[in-house]
Assembly symmetry: C2
């Protein structure tokens, strides 16, 4: 096992262990903190600045050029240049964070103005008299109408008005969703207004608690999607719903409970009362979206793969079993097609793809891979059945990226690995599969056709230590990443010939998807200004490794950027700003969906894409 | 007992018994059939034409002048001129009916265009293919959007779409409420679309089933408001709600069940399936409105008498316990103030008061009396606490206008009475109270101060038969309307001195209200072009009698018109035409409410109005 260092990020309080020489930028991504990096790591923009508060290495040349001397003295460094050779504590300022900066900053760079769908207004009203006999509701409406001319209230809300109005001498807070009063609250409660943005992944669900009076994110929590017990991927979930009489109701209640549990956690973390949460926004792929809304997803899985609904849905949270304020709302962002869902709309929204002059490619790799390529003139999207290999599934020793997972692999005279949690390894996660194959390709253990060479073929061409790790396997040769004596189980951890084939299929599907989208738009790699890697997995990919195995197009590494949980950021933007909902609708209707199954060029591209690039 | 004749109206099949010499116009009103009469009974307009199909009297001069000879031969007569001297069968054509004509006729006179809130559209859609993968909802929306650009659907409706769409090969009917799809139905169901308009009176509830594809009224049914068991008037109902923990819920469920029961009856009568009823519209006074909507009415009864809500309410019928199509709606018309409710809005809507150039006075006498005076420039309204005397309550032998009630009284050499149902009398209803006092005033038995004279004072001035009917009572003299041997009980039926006082209070309240409204507008009786008598009681009043007791202003009888259940007609218009809802809102906000309790001139007017007019 190689030496690893612990890096703690503040004020988040998150720690990761990384191999010697890893950049702070990569370590931050590993911790789920995406730093802004307009120059793509070329050390020219100076935007990825952090402060190393313990064990700062000496400033680099770029640090000295771009950062003031007094800041350098306090530990300021460029994250993309700063390499880790010791345990460290790193402070990440607000303005260095990718989405915080995008969502919250005032001034020129501000792109999302705080304009939540839920707002509160406190009004002090004149008391009724014989010469002012307006109804209770008219009295309230008159005070609100100046700002909100079309204000309305539902009968269930109206019923609560007379008592609440008189409890505090005709002073009352109206909670508004758009033009609708959804609740009246005694006295002035305008400082208590929260929402939660959710990204419902097939495997992982993330919730972000947001203060709607400031736009600030107060807490985050995540859970494994409890639906995994009923199937790993969307098709098996759809099948479950179809094969069981109350399958849809069951899976819906599972995800609703999951959201409720996340809400409980973020409320506890941020010391926020649950009834001050008035709205939940949700992104997810089209199947997750349909199941969450209790809409039958069956036809998504049947040719010609049509969804029941594409557009956004707004409804009462209570109707979906979500426990927030009893009058609260759910807003589910719109989908694009049966296999390109609201999560992709969220990515496009958060990355401004449909407002961009330059052509960009967004890649969101989860259990499925969704792609969007283009700019404001034309944006095309598709879904690639990459399978769950990148999440560690269908890999012999594969596991999710949790403690004990090998997450990084380097080859030199022998194997160097980094293990999440700095514990004895138990298996390997998706990034390690990519790293291992990329390195094995580089040194020649795997050939471009994906065949693991026998040690006999490589004799004399490789260090003995590496040669000794190539062992006979079921379908050819396998490669020992961790020896029996290093692992938790006492059994070696292998990357098998079959694992390499799985990776070829997975990366081939995505690469072929990219090729088809390029064909549709008539563009080449040179026309692509940026590749944006979204999703949890996207955070962790090492760009050079991904290029080496041919998962990503061969464009300069600095043009490949991490955008983190962009889908979730999109949900958060929709929570914070109503305009973002209109933009989401525009994205939903204007992004073209390309059905790869309907393209004659797809099979050809796929066959070619399964090969690894020649060195 | 005097001679009475039976008159049957067709195609309604309703019969009434009337005194010799009664006009067909009055008899029709008695049967609840209000005839159009622009000239007010002066035999100049010819609009109140009916056909006497059995025992037609000889044509009058006016008949011969206004009606073609061949029609006269078939029994055509002017209802205002045709006096009844035999049993008769009368056919009332469509165009002679007051509201039918207003609501349904095409052409110049057409005022309400068929434009229901609920409409159905049948669409046949292309089947999805790999090159047309639009979602189910988008596919439906695209077909509807041409006509309804902002069409929307709620998630609960969307859930039903995929199955229904595939049951009949992508041919489906969308049920729309405004821009909202409220239901999908398999196949083409566009010919089945009904609604029910309700007038919820304090005492009586009337429901009218309407075919929304034609606007035709298919059936009517009525019930006693079951809330009468919890109090006769609005204040006692409000008190009940306040004094009992679940009083409001109880009274709400009572009225909901009542509506359900009426719906069942009209459905049976018209052979219409309950689930083809998609909307219910409701008028009622503000208290009935609040209780029906389960809104606490308490503050209506407390100074300064404010309602919780004035505006219209739209909600799902299921939320109010009304059993129509499960996705159906309720639209409750707006109120004006705490004591001038949606029923008055209905009257103003149906009589076009707020669009009139001429100044008109509408009087709706129920358990309360509501007045509206003015024209399109300014319309003022008030509520008069007339009490239930006109409904027969608080009158010693008072009863509702049902079988056995004396409904008409004439004095000549003796008393002539007409009894509803042509049976021995059991009591007297409101019109008989008015008639009796008016006639007693005319012949001098009652003086203008309301004192019943003793027989000694009148000796020689009256026929002996009448003198003999004046008998000593508890608080002065009483008058025998029916002798012991004539009545069902074998006891005489009296009009007492106390009854006369009750009538003075009741009519004084209404007349004083009229005076105050005239003061507010600065107009005199001469400025009032028409007096419109609405409500069930209004139908039956004899105008000359009402003038004689000083219930109505002293304006020419032909300018006093019956408009029948105008409140219910307003509810029906709101069911048939969305534009009428906008007009109702305009009426609700633009009609000024005058609080009589806040007017210094009211007490003075009331004191004066309690006196009867000098002859």
């Amino acid at each position: 096992m190689s030496q690893a260092f612990k890096v703690t990020f503040q004020p988040d309080g998150k720690s990761v262990s990384v191999l010697d020489g890893t950049t702070v930028f990569e370590a931050a991504a590993r911790a789920g903190i995406i730093l802004t990096s307009p120059c793509g790591g070329k050390a020219t923009c100076g935007k990825c600045r952090v402060e190393i508060t313990a064990h700062a290495p000496a400033p680099t040349e770029a640090d000295q050029k771009l950062l003031p001397a007094e800041d350098l003295a306090r530990g300021a460094r460029l994250a993309c240049q700063c390499r880790i050779h010791a345990n460290m504590v790193v402070n990440v300022p607000h303005e260095t964070r990718f989405f915080e900066q995008k969502i919250l900053e005032e001034g020129v760079g501000r792109q999302v103005k705080l304009h939540p769908n839920i707002k509160k207004r406190f009004v002090k009203l004149p008391t009724p008299t014989l010469t002012d006999q307006r109804s209770d509701l008219d009295r309230v409406m008159a005070a609100l109408r100046e700002e909100i001319p079309d204000v309305r209230a539902d009968i269930e809300v109206i019923r609560t008005l007379p008592d609440k109005l008189r409890e505090d001498g005709f002073a009352i807070t109206a909670v508004l969703e758009g033009n609708d009063i959804i609740s009246f609250e005694r006295g002035n409660t305008t400082d208590r207004n929260h929402g939660v943005a959710f990204d419902i992944g097939t495997t992982t669900v993330v919730g972000m608690l947001v203060d709607l009076t400031t736009g600030a994110q107060l807490a985050v929590a995540s859970r494994t999607n409890p639906q995994v017990a009923y199937g790993d991927d969307v098709v098996s979930r759809i099948t479950y719903c179809h094969d069981h009489k109350t399958g849809l109701e069951l899976l819906q209640s599972k995800i609703a409970h999951c959201l409720d549990s996340i809400i409980a956690e973020v409320c506890t973390k941020a010391k926020v009362a649950r009834e001050t949460i008035y709205e939940v926004t949700v992104v997810g792929n089209t199947t997750m979206n349909h199941i969450f809304l209790k809409v039958n997803p069956w036809n998504i899985a049947q040719a010609p793969y049509v969804a029941v609904l594409r557009g956004a849905v707004e409804t009462k949270s209570s109707r979906l079993g979500i426990t927030i304020n009893e009058t609260g709302n759910v807003y589910a962002l719109p989908n694009i097609a049966g296999f390109v869902g609201a999560d992709t709309v969220g990515v496009i929204l958060a990355t401004d793809l449909l407002r961009s002059d330059a052509i960009k490619l967004a890649i969101d790799i989860g259990t499925n891979g969704e792609l969007a390529l283009g700019n404001k003139n034309r944006l095309v999207s598709c879904s690639c059945a990459a399978g769950p290999a990148f999440e560690g599934a269908r890999i012999q020793f594969g596991m999710r990226a949790t403690a004990g997972a090998i997450e990084k692999v380097l080859l030199d005279h022998d194997v160097r690995i980094n293990v999440i949690g700095n514990v004895p390894p138990r298996g390997l996660c998706g990034t390690a599969v990519i790293d291992a194959v990329a390195e094995m390709l580089r040194v020649g253990i795997v050939d471009p056709a994906g065949r693991v060479q026998s040690p006999e073929n490589l004799a004399g061409k490789l260090p003995e230590a590496l040669l000794g790790r190539i062992v006979p396997g079921k379908t050819g040769c396998d490669f020992v990443l961790a020896k029996a004596e290093e692992t938790k189980s006492g059994q070696p951890i292998l990357l098998t010939q079959r694992d390499v084939r799985e990776l070829q299929l997975a990366k081939g599907a995505i690469f072929a998807g990219i090729q088809v989208l390029k064909n549709v738009l008539g563009v080449t790699d040179n026309d692509i200004a940026e590749v944006l890697l979204a999703g949890a997995f996207g955070n962790f990919i090492r760009r050079s490794m991904a290029k080496r195995i041919g998962l990503l197009p061969d464009i300069p590494t600095e043009r490949i950027k991490f955008v983190g949980n962009a889908a979730g950021a999109g949900a958060r933007m929709a929570l914070i700003a109503r305009e973002c909902r209109e933009e989401a609708e525009r994205i939903s209707t204007q992004t073209e969906y390309i059905e790869l199954g309907g393209r004659p060029d797809f099979q050809q591209e796929f066959m070619m894409a399964m090969m690894f690039p020649e060195k």
